[in-house]
Symmetry: C2
Subunit: 356 residues, 2 copies
């Protein structure tokens, strides 16, 4: 990470502009407090010592709050923009938009979605538009839980990261609790009596991979079940990857009586691998998925028990947090990302193990 001091001598540096968050760090307060102090926000209760510290840090860093002041002007548009990579153009995480939309509309705010398709130029153009049209704040949203670098131009606008996190723990962000989700999935199998539990997992090193793996191990440990590396097979997270991984898991001796699949698409392939082996779900092998993609989970025979990603809830949380930021109301958390739970959705793919 670049130290803020490196660029503090030239606030208009094209590569790195001093942001409100640099000031917040230097003063040891939150960005909201900085904004309140520098904008003389009425109603904000900030101790005089803190005010001094913020003003001193701003001066030392040569911080210019012009853009911030503009975004905090009294005349609001009551419009939020969601800038997303590809949420709106892929069928994976559309409930994020639904949750954000209903939370926004419910409070009399409008939501516009701009999808960048991971194109940096398009994103710049979207940011131009946002500044021209003066939306009050931005949800910076990712299609799946990942670490993002927030564009410098957004740093002084009210912003919440959605299904995304940054290295900056002061930047409001909300993501799924992958560890807890993985743990709940495996506990659901343990609860039905399973102790030999396979894991068809993701071969890509995204946060969900590490998180769900950790949850798998935590659940086993809590139940006194030894971790067996041979019961974990990683592959691509589609039906074919699931088919291959589960085919391999079924060759273990003794074979697992239940399998946790990294996602519902892998579970779809798991069903096929079991059918080819002449095994039935759930009587011969129980299956639990992840994501709750209803088109798959409800379309499989028997319907798939799975763990839901809190897409809707994350969208709603992010909008509520953003509106609070815009209105200068303190959030009730100070360290980010906030983790939202992934609940188990019970359908018909889990039963007690038959004697192996």
């Amino acid at each position: 990470m670049t130290a803020p001091a490196e660029s503090s001598g030239n606030a208009s540096s094209p590569t790195r502009r001093v942001s409100i968050r640099d000031v917040a760090k230097a003063a040891g307060v939150s960005a909201t407090v900085v904004s309140h102090v520098l904008n003389d926000f009425e109603g904000a209760r900030v101790a005089e010592g803190t005010r001094d510290r913020v003003r001193r840090a701003a001066t030392e860093l040569n911080y210019s709050p012009n853009r911030l002041a503009r975004s905090l002007r009294l005349k609001r548009t009551h419009t939020i923009a969601m800038i997303s990579d590809e949420i709106a153009t892929t069928p994976y995480a559309t409930n994020i938009i639904l949750g954000a939309q209903e939370a926004a509309y419910g409070q009399g705010w409008a939501l516009v979605v701009v999808n960048t398709g991971h194109d940096r130029e398009v994103q710049e153009r979207a940011l131009d538009l946002l500044e021209e049209n003066q939306v009050d704040g931005v949800l910076y949203a990712s299609m799946f839980h990942r670490v993002v670098e927030v564009p410098q131009r957004l740093a002084d606008h009210p912003i919440v990261l959605l299904d995304a996190r940054s290295d900056d723990t002061q930047m409001p962000a909300v993501v799924p609790d992958e560890v807890l989700g993985g743990r709940l999935a495996v506990e659901e199998l343990i609860k039905h009596g399973h102790r030999r539990i396979g894991f068809a997992m993701n071969s890509e090193p995204i946060p969900a991979t590490a998180g769900r793996m950790r949850g798998y191990r935590d659940a086993l440990r809590a139940a006194g079940i030894r971790f067996d590396e041979s019961l974990v097979v990683a592959d691509k997270i589609n039906a074919h990857g699931g088919y291959r991984a589960v085919t391999e898991l079924l060759a273990r001796d003794p074979r697992p009586t239940a399998i946790f699949c990294f996602n519902d698409q892998m579970a779809m392939g798991a069903y096929r691998a079991l059918a080819e082996a002449g095994l039935h779900v759930p009587t011969d092998c129980s299956i639990i998925g992840f994501d709750n993609q209803e088109i798959i989970a409800e379309g499989l025979f028997p319907a798939l028990s799975t763990v839901a990603l809190p897409h809707y809830e994350m969208g709603a949380w992010a909008v509520n947090a953003l509106i609070k930021q815009i209105e200068g109301v303190a959030l009730d958390v100070t360290e980010f990302p906030v983790l939202l739970p992934c609940p188990v959705i019970s359908r018909d793919s889990i039963a007690a193990p038959t004697t192996p």
Copy 2:
């Protein structure tokens, strides 16, 4: 339909405002021509007699072109809004957004998406915003091909209906060619030698139902195959509906050697029905779906041959048509909706019939 004359005495009637399309109808020209005449659009080649007719119709109907003039002002935002019902919040038709987005970005235009969730109040609020923020035009998009009533407030803005049609054949609109799609699906089966072809169809009377049914019958007739009502079973368009419909079709004597499923979700249920009957795809029964929902079509074993909805192409077509309208360039079609083809996507679920 309300005759325009009913409200012409009071242009500010809250229930029905005289629109540019009323003037176009009365003058027997297109809305684009009306806009060119009333705005003295430079470069528009309109005969003097036509100009007179348009001006007379506008006067007689007491039409006020203020809003139109505003939307045609020279200063443009180069921003298009897509107002959709639920495209952005369901996983069904996201490629519409992708196609629109790439066509817009490619020409230096921005696209913002506002999802109304079928809520009339939210839609009104979205229209407020659009007028405040001055987008140049609107794509009015539906998640699936249906007949829509265009909000009166949109009538004077450049607008294109996307995956939707209105009763007004002058209103630019683009939808899938459902009849041709159904015909191509069935011809694909006939081409492989099938003559006893079942149809697991939709029980809801949407345009796609009538269109694909017509395509099924057209393909049979062209191949000299008699239509057999007992080979058509309607049910819900999900996996369970497909399972039930295909289970029923398999009970016919002789049973069909191939089945056309209304959509890929029904095909997912068809696979299950066949597996339970001890029949294999495609050796015992060929299957073709519709929609090309890749998560299903590529996740099934064997992968599903299907017909693609031209979501991407419709999105692109609509943006191009809208930008032309905004820039006063005549469209090369005058009667709407424009029908885009639904191509067959060949995978592995179709083979020649075995002797029955």
